[in-house]
Symmetry: C2
């Protein structure tokens, strides 16, 4: 029989060790921040009943993997983490309120696969259920800011409030039912610019390919009022607030939205979240129809403050879960795009992730004495150092060191009969050698010259290795502080 | 419209926060041990092509969720992690050898759901691909022993070798083709006892319900030889080895199996793995047909050494991956049953897992000053203490403390206008109060008496809380050592 062709389904990918290690680190960093606010993890099954996945909506646009399981039930793979959360809230009557949960699991969408767009991807959702307090929204914004700061990612978090946009609709004299169409167009502001947005609000425009894009048909005075709103000064959170309050001073009902934004500003200040990282941006609408109050998004920015890409988005959705539970359940939450965050980090910080968990490769010069090498590796592990014993097919130490290089293992231990007799080991600081880009022309010569190599008594091995690892920084050791 | 009934599919379950936190801790502990040996993580997609899932076998017995996806491809949910690993090995030509990977992901099996038996469950697989060295098998056994020791779980790990069982077949004069049937029956030894096993090897028996179980039809001298083998003394690893070597001294080809067991014993000794925890048990066969050499299993034991249940099983399978790659790929590995491990731990250690990540609940006596309470929580978080700010609907501090009790939060912070004016906070050691089972008859009276409560300057808050948490042990703080 011919071998089966090994391949992934279109739109699906394996995550190999280097990327997994990097991604796991990012995820556990963010988890830790949210746990410090009292969020706790939840997992739900991959499969749900079809009727739960579809809710009261229709199938269109949701691109769910649906099928009939052997017992004849219509089931599907979850396409987000909000629907399973809503089901959990409705199903377990003794969950606390607020219920603060995070959930990190894959979701599946039968989407057009593009480069960088997958049909299976990890979603990291954070939600607080059961409180109308703006403190809940604030905590999610604050924890997201702390997460990105901890990952050393230059970012801005922008927030606004759907109620302020509703006031804009009233202020501009636009019928309420047209609001969602206006918001959809406003969401394009950053990408397309003001001129294009104004055309789409008004008569329509022609795109680059010559296709006509119909306009909303708003009148020039209405568009002028929207433009006035978009031009409001908001260099600090306080200025944004004052501008909005001034603009809407005669618009009935505008106080609620402004007060909610003001509360979040006050709480952010109490949590010492700086004004230049978490800002008010009155123009953001966030696509989803179900938002009812605060909306927020995190974007990574480059050196000049330019937008690299959105890595988190969310908002308050006080009406959604009630559809499942039959009683009101205020809620606010956000989704983090883990895959996008990970690729942005590797790009922005020029990181080549290590494919190995090992701090040390214990090489094997004399295979017949492998138990003694294992003993050395065991000694390192008991000191908290990740030590891999070489088990590949290469006999030469040079080749074994090449394996360490490929795996980006920072330190190698070498021992031959001289060392064994003397109760010593040689330690090679591979990371230092790589950092100093020592030119290696003749590997044999190099091994002989013992570049970056020290020989120490076995008893000093762990201490010496730890000091090399700390100097290099490329270590899995717990940090000193 | 009536609300949708919130429910899980039969055989599927949600993992709520208390169990998730506990499970995540167990998983990350085991990960850390395997990483110390140089194992690195891999993830693969939930969906695979049907032909990959079925391999060269047939559908029968594999109980895979298969369906046609919208593009018309036959696909299925993975039912184990060995098939995806084999695909990965065949698909990526630049993976190192050995390739040491762990993989912790759910698998799906359309099985008869039983209490405690689920159709979706987490599997934790560890495998080393590309080396025939017995050191690879040894490392998996050793790391598993370390993992269970670290979790303070009384356990035994037993190992043997398929080649020794093959020698037994020859020694007992049984045709080679009957070997797998003999092994299948030997696997029942611990559960059913020797008498029952002998009947199944011979004429057959009648089970409790009166149903006949056909026998293999071996002759009494053959069964006697098997019994002689099963009775071999093996109180220490060395004794087990010596017994087997003595029994099979005239059996052609028996040396290889014995030498492999001896090698693992030697390496375990080098790694300082004690003789009473990792033992030779010549009777174990481990069901799967594809094992070719060492086999091993971990069982939890009770105070008297009685078996509680198997939590890990594995072995060497040098022929399996070659079916995918078309070239030989020696391999050895094990699967850990995470769910079983987690329930056994909770049972054996009488643990009631905490549903909360918070070390401290900052109560809110004066809702109008919530920003000040948020400031206190922020101060604690910056000191590495997980602090939840109360956001529930209860106004009374007594009720807020009940919330902390339900969530098993160990410490509460209380501040009213007196404390605010004096720059102080009150701290309540809820964990201590619970430990000392202080009888609370009148909650108001209790709050007034300030049991287990100290009042300190705000500047001393974190230090005081840390000392309470350390005394209680119920903390998420990094340990001191």
């Amino acid at each position: 029989m011919s071998p089966i062709k090994p391949q992934n389904l279109k739109g699906f990918k394996d995550v190999l060790p280097a990327e997994m290690l990097f991604r796991d680190n990012v995820i556990s960093h963010i988890k830790k921040v949210f746990e410090s606010y009292g969020f706790a993890p939840l997992n739900t099954p991959a499969l749900e009943y079809k009727e739960i996945l579809l809710g009261y909506g229709d199938e269109a646009g949701k691109q769910i993997y649906l099928f009939e399981e052997p017992e004849g039930n219509q089931v599907g793979l979850r396409f987000d983490l909000t629907v399973p959360l809503s089901r959990v809230i409705a199903q377990y009557h003794d969950l606390p309120r607020p219920f603060k949960r995070y959930q990190v699991q894959p979701v599946w969408r039968y989407d057009k696969p593009d480069p960088g767009r997958f049909r299976e991807f990890i979603q990291f959702d954070i939600d607080t259920i059961g409180t109308t307090s703006m403190m809940a929204d604030t905590e999610i914004i604050a924890a997201m800011h702390e997460s990105l700061s901890g990952l050393r990612l230059p970012h801005k978090i922008r927030f606004s409030n759907r109620k302020i946009l509703n006031s804009l609709i009233m202020f501009a004299g636009i019928p309420e039912t047209m609001g969602r169409h206006v918001f959809r167009i406003l969401d394009k502001l950053e990408k397309q610019g003001l001129a294009s947005v104004k055309l789409e609000l008004g008569p329509g425009r022609v795109d680059e390919s010559g296709d006509p894009i119909p306009g909303l048909g708003l009148k020039p005075p209405q568009i002028a009022k929207i433009e006035e709103f978009l031009g409001l000064p908001q260099r600090t959170r306080q200025e944004g607030l004052d501008s909005a309050a001034n603009l809407f001073k005669d618009t009935p009902g505008a106080e609620t939205g402004i007060r909610e934004v003001a509360e979040i500003h006050e709480y952010l200040t109490a949590l010492e979240i700086p004004d230049d990282k978490v800002i008010i941006d009155l123009s953001i609408a966030r696509g989803l129809d179900y938002y009812t109050g605060p909306v927020f998004e995190a974007v990574l920015v480059d050196d000049r403050g330019g937008r690299v890409g959105s890595v988190m988005g969310g908002g308050r959705y006080d009406q959604l879960i009630g559809q499942f539970t039959g009683r009101p359940e205020p809620a606010t939450g956000a989704s983090i795009g883990v895959d996008r965050l990970v690729s942005a980090m590797q790009l922005l910080q020029d990181i080549q992730p290590r494919p190995s968990t090992a701090d040390v490769l214990v090489t094997v010069m004399m295979p017949e004495r492998i138990a003694e090498y294992a003993r050395i590796a065991g000694r390192l592990r008991r000191e908290g150092i990740n030590a891999e014993l070489y088990m590949g097919g290469e006999k030469s130490i040079g080749k074994q060191l090449q394996y360490a290089d490929r795996q980006m293992i920072p330190v190698a231990v070498i021992a031959g009969s001289n060392e064994f007799d003397a109760g010593e080991v040689s330690i090679k600081d591979l990371d230092k050698i790589r950092r100093e880009k020592i030119e290696i022309k003749d590997r044999k010569e190099w091994v002989k010259r013992k570049v970056g190599q020290v020989t120490v008594p076995l008893a000093d091995l762990a201490v010496e290795v730890k000091s090399m690892l700390r100097a290099g920084g490329g270590t899995n050791l717990p940090s000193d502080h």
